[in-house]
Point group: C2
Chain length 192, copies 2
């Protein structure tokens, strides 16, 4: 029988994964800090020492989300052709991949005012994600206009947002290969 030690060991990361689980289970608006603490097997005031307050925890979680977001994009880009256009489409596919795989996290990152985006950590990874898209578009059109960047971003983001929210089921419900083909074609239209 294992007795619980007073010190957790790695409570910070345990709270982060517990928070994401609670977020996926209850939704952002019913998110409860005390439930997160209970899920991590710790008292209700324990998170304060690692994250300050509830928004601090969500800020750290959102930052972690942006890192995984970039990782999923990179995974798509690695297996795609190395042409600028194929890389841009791969980035869009990764955008949708993340939104579908972690819808709760996606919402926290894009449709919530609780994370503090002016924090050094979260601010950096968020603008880094934006800069990546920017350079991907510039690689296709060196003289890219505002419309070019807006079209690419809006298309990828719109697809990701609608599909992760359960809309556009006619696309989300497709077999993976066809689904990716449709997404690739839609994103391709944005850059013509």
């Amino acid at each position: 029988m294992e007795t619980k030690p007073y010190h957790h060991g790695d409570l910070r990361s345990a709270l982060l994964s517990a928070a994401e689980a609670e977020l996926a289970l209850r939704g952002i608006e019913a998110f409860s800090l005390r439930s997160v603490a209970k899920r991590a097997g710790v008292s209700h005031a324990a998170p304060a020492h690692h994250f300050g307050d509830a928004n601090g925890l969500l800020t750290a979680l959102a930052a972690e989300g942006f890192r995984q977001f970039r990782a999923m994009q990179a995974a798509r880009e690695a297996v795609a052709d190395k042409t600028p256009r194929a890389q841009m489409i791969a980035a869009g596919l990764g955008y949708v991949d993340f939104a579908m795989a972690r819808p709760a996290l996606f919402r926290l990152m894009h449709s919530s005012d609780r994370p503090a985006f002016d924090t050094p950590d979260l601010g950096a990874v968020a603008t880094a994600a934006y800069e990546h898209l920017r350079t991907a578009v510039a690689a296709i059109k060196p003289e890219a206009s505002i419309a070019d960047l807006g079209a690419a971003w809006a298309t990828a983001h719109g697809l990701a947002d609608l599909m992760s929210a359960g809309r556009l089921h006619s696309i989300a419900g497709l077999p993976v290969a066809e689904r990716d083909a449709v997404i690739a074609e839609i994103i391709g239209r944005a850059l013509t």
Copy 2:
């Protein structure tokens, strides 16, 4: 000096506008039913009789939002050329108009799980908005594919979501005429 009558008179609509004001002021996640009641000058339990619970109020508010959404689209369509393509672009411009004019309501309608979308009223207006887009696309291409519908919706929704959230400021900050021109061009790309 006017004394407060026991019965409000039109508390239901007063609560709806108070709720939208609170939503715009505090954000969805800090939305408080008691604050709404206080703003309407009524006790904290008064809303229950008209909307059941807090989610009921937000459900009614979201339904009202979808009606105003369609109204803004109709306003754009009325002044646009009557060609199917111009009508489709007008619908997209109205989409963005609404998101920029009422960002809090837009978020409630698209990025919240609190409104009950399986309610007859909200369900009807929400699917009506979707059907309108569907017929607008079909008017251009009678044999419209899944990609056609997805591209149109994702582009308009992505622009609206990003711009209302403060992103894409390079487009949102433009003078109105140029702004509309850029949006029209981006939406036009989705249907090629």
